[in-house]
């Protein structure tokens, strides 16, 4: 079993009554609600958390791309991955991912991912989402009717750019390039593992099965509701005669661990509420542009992740409901172990994308949860899939061959041999955004 510690990097200070005062956390959220001085602290807190996850032994560090919103502040996850590439050592950099249809030309993504892979010594997981409708259609103006076709073309171009040994010409419908010649090329050959995050579009199952990519189902309805999608995916895999290897499925799950079940509720409930009522408060008209989902997905009855129907489902749910219905896995380490094991087994899932910082959670609570999980849950679940080989994790350079970033003392500024003290350690400690 593998664990990717995922961060959404939310804005923690959306005002009380946000849901009633504003129509959407995404697309047209008022700009004056963002304070860049708070943002400065938040980014640095969040990177601290991801770096800690590396030291605690999590297998992957997850970041993703979203635009114009207070739910997740990473328009460019590659910038976060670049920061982590130098200050982490072991964990995979799971960039889940770049919305490849948005980039012109898409070889830009092939280049940046190659850079990340080379800098990190081959630790990159390359994620290619279509992107949410809010992101790609409403914020970035892509025509809903053609976004998927453009996505598939970008995917083919990026893969060829990584794989072909020689310069080639690419005459696509959306991208035309006379010379494609990737410098640098990725360290992992022929390319980093590819994970396809999806929100439940059924076409994605075939796409993953046909290309051998890992399918990561990202949902906030939790593992019980997620079973319908996981089963759909496994059915397609079985029909195509593919190995039903748990590592070819990733699943995102909110996890709230504390010393006791009761303590978990006390500590986490307000932040869950913040997450579900503010971070996921998306205006219905932005949830699903016409043409973004295909008729077959709509007919399959898969509810969009956000919007009116999704909100209605969550309306009035209590902490107990959220726990009982599997939206979140919460409680003592023992409870979390049991529920999570049950969840992973029922989904046949080998890659957990775990969310331990969501909504308004402050750094000290996040740290407590991470340490508890790493110490008292993770080791017990490692051996869940003894008969399967994980073919979707990076294959980095052996440690002795890896470059070591020069150590720095962040408190000193060096100018022509004269050393000036920039900040005291005490001041540094108190500088989080709590």
């Amino acid at each position: 079993m593998k664990f990717t510690w995922f961060h959404l990097m939310p804005y923690r200070y959306l005002p009380d009554g946000f849901k009633d005062k504003y129509r959407s956390v995404w697309v047209d959220i008022p700009r004056n609600l963002y304070d860049p001085k708070i943002g400065h602290r938040l980014y640095n807190d969040y990177l601290d958390q991801l770096e800690l996850a590396d030291r605690l032994g999590f297998d992957g560090l997850g970041v993703n791309e979203h635009h114009q919103n207070g739910y997740g502040l990473m328009p460019s996850p590659n910038i976060m991955a670049a920061a982590m590439a130098r200050r982490t050592r072991n964990a995979a950099l799971v960039v889940l991912g770049n919305s490849i249809a948005l980039y012109n030309p898409p070889v830009r993504v092939a280049e940046e991912f190659a850079m990340l892979d080379v800098i990190s010594g081959g630790r990159l997981v390359a994620g290619f989402p279509v992107g949410t409708s809010m992101d790609v259609n409403f914020c970035y103006g892509e025509v809903p009717a053609t976004i998927r076709e453009k996505y598939y073309e970008a995917h083919d171009l990026i893969l060829r750019a990584w794989k072909e040994p020689d310069v080639f010409a690419f005459n696509g419908k959306y991208t035309k390039l006379r010379y494609v010649n990737l410098w640098p090329k990725p360290l992992q050959q022929p390319h980093p593992p590819i994970w396809i995050p999806g929100g439940g579009s059924i076409e994605t199952w075939d796409f993953c099965a046909d290309h051998g990519h890992q399918y990561s189902f990202l949902s906030y309805f939790g593992y019980k509701a997620g079973k319908k999608v996981a089963d759909g995916y496994w059915k397609v895999m079985a029909k195509k005669g593919k190995e039903l290897n748990p590592y070819s499925l990733g699943f995102a799950q909110v996890i709230a661990v504390a010393n006791t079940d009761k303590e978990a509720e006390e500590l986490y409930a307000p932040h869950m509420d913040y997450f579900y009522s503010r971070c996921l408060h998306v205006y219905n008209g932005f949830a699903d542009a016409p043409g973004y989902r295909t008729p077959s997905t709509i007919r399959a009855g898969i509810v969009a992740q956000v919007g009116k129907e999704a909100s209605l489902r969550r309306e009035g749910l209590t902490w107990k409901d959220f726990v009982d219905e599997g939206y979140i896995i919460a409680g003592s380490p023992k409870t979390v172990r049991e529920r999570l094991t049950e969840a992973m087994k029922s989904l046949n899932c080998g890659h957990l994308m775990m969310l331990q910082q969501i909504g308004s959670m402050p750094p000290e609570l996040v740290r407590m949860g991470m340490e508890l999980f790493a110490r008292e849950v993770m080791p017990h679940m490692r051996g869940l899939w003894p008969n399967f080989q994980d073919k979707w994790s990076p294959n980095p350079l052996p440690e002795p061959e890896r470059a070591m970033p020069a150590p720095i003392d962040l408190r000193r500024v060096e100018t022509n041999g004269k050393t000036v003290h920039a900040a005291s350690p005490a001041a540094h400690e108190s500088r989080s955004a709590k």
């Binding site: 409403f138 205006y283 542009a289 043409g291 709509i298 009116k308």
Partner: protein, 260 residues
Amino acid sequence: MKTTHKIRDGKFSVETWEFGSGEPLLYIHGAGGLTGFDPFLEELGKDFRVIAPHLPGFGESTGGELVEDVVDAALFYHQLMDELGIPSAHIVGHSMGGMLASETAALDVHRAKKLVLVGSAGFWLDEHPIPDFFALDLSELGSYLFHDPKSPIAQLFLAIPDDQEQLVEMYVERTKRLAMASKFLWPIPDRGLKKRAHRIAAPTLLLWGESDRLIPPVYAGEFAKRIKNTKTETLKAAGHLPMYEQPEAFIKAVRGFLKS
């Protein structure tokens, strides 16, 4: 009555509503498509040979994947006219259909005898941004489309079926139509008509509902500025769908202009 025309070696199967005889009149519908119950077409059939095709991707018409932009759409209408043996016709276009009618007339100046543009899309004015039609909830749509969203005809348009299966089918159909429309209108309904509108040679009626809150009447002025020979008429107590909300006044204006 409804017929089907196969054109371009069957690549397009075109659901067409046809009424009456006389001078041909091509009606190009908006993003909502034809409803299958469009009495104004039948009424115009008393004076004209009305031909109202569903654009590929709408209704039962197939081949939507071959129509990707306004040029494809205009060429589709040219070809349909040729196959129906009407090299030129009066062309009436509504909303998105007004944009496509303008392109059809501008790309081949011999196609339109006279042109009627009703609440037409095609331009964008920063001072008068068109509401984001695609993001509007059904509950909000009424006030943009109708002068009186409470009127029986408006209620008929905005009705939501109780039956879950019907609801899903309605949603799928709406998604299909709007996905096609997004090729011309997303995210800003401007595909360069301003470079071509000057070519339109046909006398043109700009017909607007005075309460059109989707594409407000100020846009009629933009068409008047860019097309050589225009006349503007505003219909009282009508919104973006005057042919349904004020059918008599609508027909009188269209007939009057085409007969003059």
